[in-house]
Subunit: 303 residues, 2 copies
Amino acid sequence: MATDRTATPAEKFAYFDERTSAAIVNARMGAGIDPRLRQVISVIVKHLHAAAREIEPTPEEWLAAINFLTEVGHTCTDWRQEFILLSDVLGVSMLVDALNHHRPPGATENTVLGPFYLPQAPHYPNGANICLDGKGEPMVVRGRVLDAAGNPVAGATLDIWQTNDDGFYDVQQKGVQPEWNLRGVFTSAADGSYWFRSVKPRYYPIPDDGPVGVLLRALGRTPNRAAHCHFIVTAPGFERVVTHIFTPDCPYLHEDAVFGVKESLVANFVRVTDAAQAASLGVAAPFWSVNWDFTLVAAMSSG
Amino acid sequence: MATDRTATPAEKFAYFDERTSAAIVNARMGAGIDPRLRQVISVIVKHLHAAAREIEPTPEEWLAAINFLTEVGHTCTDWRQEFILLSDVLGVSMLVDALNHHRPPGATENTVLGPFYLPQAPHYPNGANICLDGKGEPMVVRGRVLDAAGNPVAGATLDIWQTNDDGFYDVQQKGVQPEWNLRGVFTSAADGSYWFRSVKPRYYPIPDDGPVGVLLRALGRTPNRAAHCHFIVTAPGFERVVTHIFTPDCPYLHEDAVFGVKESLVANFVRVTDAAQAASLGVAAPFWSVNWDFTLVAAMSSG
């Protein structure tokens, strides 16, 4: 049955039939319902039934699936979203993000927002150091915000957050890390340039003490996210970019638990030992030097 | 990627790609994991990603789905299983039951067990009345338990339960209905025959005060189950049958909320007004007379 029309009475009132079960379930929907809901449920029912037919779960396996989903639900609290984690580790979050952000070649790609973003981080002038406790290997990130034609975008906002050298965000270590450690908002200059000082981020595990962690272990997968800095880059007239830059030497670069890595987002981290250069940038040698440009697309060209 | 082999290193360590996202997620599974889990997750990921591609959810719709599943999980308690309800109303429970119980033509078909079965109901001699409070329209059910060749099956156990005339099971009305009201276990005689007295069952809603009820209303569907009696029929050497018989005049026969109705399970309910016949059966006239045979298949012939 097509998903875009109401069922005939014969379809709507059909008894269960294993061969046409999804169509029978979908035909039961009423005439006056929201058309988008009709479409969404039709697709979900179709794929649920197709999956059941392929898997042929025993009654015990079906019950195990029910119990797993129940445990995922029971793990969700105001501060822990296990269903988002499940969506993340099954690659669904990245797919939904990709489907919503088709961009032309050369434009900076999106990746997942993640659960550790905080609005209202401190605003800093370019060159400021967002590492407030001095721990970790110094890093200097320099680059420009550009439009699709390569022209500078002045006044763009770069909202930045990352883990410390131990793999924790400030909010995970309240009382240990200073408040707003490794978070800051910067603004691109007239030539589109920005720069900031920080420390090299480290990989870290997603929360794996719940049913999603059990699943990852059963699947032989790591819970670790590849080391990265988060960015949200916005500018009037341009599409918002939610993205990361990844360190190329992270041992989990190719096994990111949430599939957040895209080849275009892996930066070049250059280890600089020159003390004079370090001193001129206000960091100690050796430090990591990263050059990174963001290319924005006009807001209307969003896919 | 095939689901029955371990990924190559190139597959296992691939970055996210929207076009091949499901294969990339599945290739990430480790080498030594349970093969059945590998197969199940491969199918689930394939259909999840295909559904997302067809639906193209906005970020807001994706979050609404996350929140719906979370609410379903939060509604689950020791005595309420909202994920089973969700499986039921989407036809998945019936499909899984059907996939596990392929039987030759003429054999009594399965349907869902439902949440109201209690083991250890009272054993009664044939002819006993399981209606302990005398409420409702009298019903007499008579029939035989047979094998596939039509030979009687003696000593078969028939475990029977149903709602009262108000559409409630005893466990839903503790203190209102007598304990074990409308439940009983009977045994077929040497000629395979059984019979019992009861009252005509009534349709009733599945619990619809949770998110599944919200979904049913949004889909323009009734929460009602078509009126039925439950049976579990067992006999040594035969496959267990979990089934219902449905009343043919129920207004929800063609809209059963969990798709439990199969054409072969709709009985003929004959209204008998003859007082002498009623008296001979120990019921008041008028009463409902139902003839119903169960045909079992040998345990090894199970599909």
